[in-house]
């Protein structure tokens, strides 16, 4: 078995597990009772989506597409900081 067939087979088998975990994260985004729960779920979803983009760029054989995964990993945590600053400034010393 050559390298290309091995990599394609393993990554194709792994795709449904990734999609299932994304659906579970999305359930928590929809269901989350408070704002920090939703922000936390979107945060984890973004990190795993960045890893998934790197894996998918190997699977579809175009390695230049990895830059979008890097950008998503660098920017998705900014939402945490904004929401945290808003919640801290609203009720100080609670």
């Amino acid at each position: 078995m050559d390298v290309e067939a091995l990599v394609s087979l393993v990554l194709t088998v792994l795709i449904p597990l990734y999609v299932t975990s994304f659906l579970l994260y999305a359930v928590r985004v929809v269901k989350g009772p408070t704002i920090p729960d939703r922000v936390l779920a979107i945060d984890s979803l973004g990190y795993d989506l960045a890893a998934f983009m790197v894996v998918l760029s190997i699977l579809v054989r175009s390695p230049l597409m990895v830059v979008s995964g890097l950008t998503l990993a660098l920017w998705i945590y900014a939402l945490d900081i904004y929401i945290a600053k808003y919640l801290e400034a609203r009720e100080m010393g609670g």
């Binding site: 579809v60 054989r61 175009s62």
Partner: protein, 134 residues
């Protein structure tokens, strides 16, 4: 329609059409200006994704690649083979400009909403039409 790939692409386009309907509902009927702002951003993003979906193209075998030719081709047939497996790069260039200009427009709208709040004391649209919040 029996082809599963075209069925899935149909599902994608119908979902985007549903998004356009929901966001236009938000722009037209929600009373708060901030909610109109959020719905307008969603509407603009959905229109951009229609342009991207227009440039997607199915190739004979395998998955299409991005339109990058890393080395100078020797003759025309090599260039034709590279162009035959790539998606259309022109809608991507147009959408790139649309996203950046849209950001400037949203900044201006945010400034206008803050001015509105300082003048009327609320973000409800009713006082601008001459009525009162009831």
């Amino acid at each position: 329609m029996s082809d599963p790939v075209s069925l899935l692409l149909t599902v994608l386009v119908l979902s985007l059409v549903t998004n356009i309907g929901i966001s236009l509902y938000g722009v037209f009927t929600r009373p708060s200006l901030v909610k109109k702002f959020i719905s307008l951003t969603i509407f603009s993003d959905t229109l951009n994704s229609f342009a991207i979906a227009l440039g997607f193209r199915r190739v004979a075998r395998g998955y299409p690649s991005i339109a990058v030719i890393p080395s100078i081709p020797e003759d025309v047939s090599e260039l034709r083979a590279a162009a035959g497996t790539a998606v259309d790069p022109l809608p991507q260039a147009l959408v790139l400009t649309a996203i950046v200009i849209g950001l400037a427009v949203y900044m201006f709208l945010a400034g206008l909403i803050v001015m509105y709040y300082r003048h009327y004391g609320t973000t409800h649209v009713r006082p601008a039409e001459g009525g009162s919040i009831g």
